[in-house]
Amino acid sequence: MSVGAGSALLLLIRRDLRLSFRRPEQLLQPLVFFLIVTTLFPLGLSLDLATLREVAPGVLWVGALLASLLSLDALFRSDAEDGTLEQLALSGQELTVIVIAKTVAHWLVSGAALVLVSPLIAIALGIPSTVFGTMLTSLALGTLTLSWLGSIGAGLTVGLKRGNVLLSLIVLPLAMPLLIFGAGATDRALAEVSSTGALYLLASLCVFTCTLAPFAAAAALRIALD
């Protein structure tokens, strides 16, 4: 009797979540980075809330992008180093299923966690709570898209000893549209203009990457295992 792709997906997500919670310091690192970077801006710029509000969406977004990049390198690396990636690749499941499970688990502990703490930072930067809906939606879509893009980069750099810088070079240029539309959406909501257009664009980017990235990342992993 074989195991279906759906149950394999759930099993792998559970495995990766459990592994993450066994190493809480790795879990907290991006969150702490996000909090520190974003709270440094008021100190460097100005303590005036009106001034801060103008740059707040950009600050929030740059902070979130950089924080999620921090943990991307570990996406496949730890499994590749201890040989469990080989075992996963020989498990009779498609590599795309393995990529999807690992990316979703990664997003849950990095991107989703960033989204959850972002209201705290938003309040500190003077963003009114009326904008929170748009801000949270855009951040959720943006970080998820970044995780999909990152899975390709992480797959390509997993064979390198120090792939972190290369990974940023591969992923950050691709993440520019996210930054533009994501910060743009929050900006428009702040100015009380409709932000649906930007949100739809983010959503379409998210759908686009989640359809294609698993195949690209699986192909990259196949090369890395060779």
């Binding site: 009797m1 195991v3 201890d82 040989g83 020989l90 498990s91 499941q93 060779d226």
Partner: protein
């Protein structure tokens, strides 16, 4: 065309970078047989095993399982094989039981008591709930062996399985191998010394 019921490796050539590692390796292993792969370091024993399990595509030649090229029946073939690399491939932060649950669980539905029985079999039941990182190298090897058993696979591909095992562990491994091929299984074992198991067996010596 070969319609055999076991594993057939036909004229496999493999290059690792600039090095021509496998130079036309051919072998056949039928159910109930063990193939002992030997050779000095660096002669491509691990490469051969990786080619056979399908992780590495040979530059020339073919691997067939029951007469079919393995690329064509990938997931069926992978469910029929259990591969143990020279590293134990366990997650240090997970317990042996969790390691088995997640890896074996991808191949076939498993229950915890069943996995505990396999760990018992390889003599590591008492550390089933400790994180793997606190186990000794020999204990990890035994956990990896339990994982091979738990996959209930027909084809075992074992890379240096005797490393780090004590005398009792080596005897246990030989007994398990004997039982496996006695039950109609197939085993390919890379090992530097003699394998204690009796039964039908072939030798494949790779030269430098």
């Amino acid at each position: 065309m070969d319609n055999g019921d076991g594993l057939a490796v036909e004229g496999v050539h493999a290059w690792r970078g600039e090095r021509h590692v496998l130079k036309g390796v051919s072998c056949r292993v039928r159910p109930g047989e063990l193939l002992h792969v030997l050779g000095p370091n660096g002669t491509g024993k691990t490469t051969l095993l990786r080619v056979i399990c399908g992780l590495l595509r040979p530059d020339q030649g073919e691997v067939r399982w029951r007469g079919e090229p393995i690329g064509r029946i990938r997931s069926e073939y992978q469910r029929a094989l259990a591969y143990a690399s020279h590293e134990p491939a366990l997650k240090g932060d997970l317990t042996p039981l969790e390691n088995l649950t997640y890896l074996v669980g991808l191949k076939r539905p498993v229950r915890t008591p069943e996995l505990r029985a396999y760990l018992e079999r390889t003599g590591v039941a008492h550390c089933a709930d400790l994180p793997v990182r606190v186990l000794s190298a020999g204990q990890r090897r035994r956990v990896a062996m339990a994982r091979v058993l738990a996959q209930e696979a027909l084809l075992w591909l074992l890379d240096e399985p005797y490393t780090n095992l004590d005398a009792a562990g080596s005897a246990l491994l030989s007994a398990l191998l004997e039982e496996h091929i006695g039950g109609g299984g197939i085993a390919l074992v890379v090992a530097h010394h003699e394998i204690g198991a009796s039964g039908a067996r072939g030798r494949l010596e790779l030269a430098a």
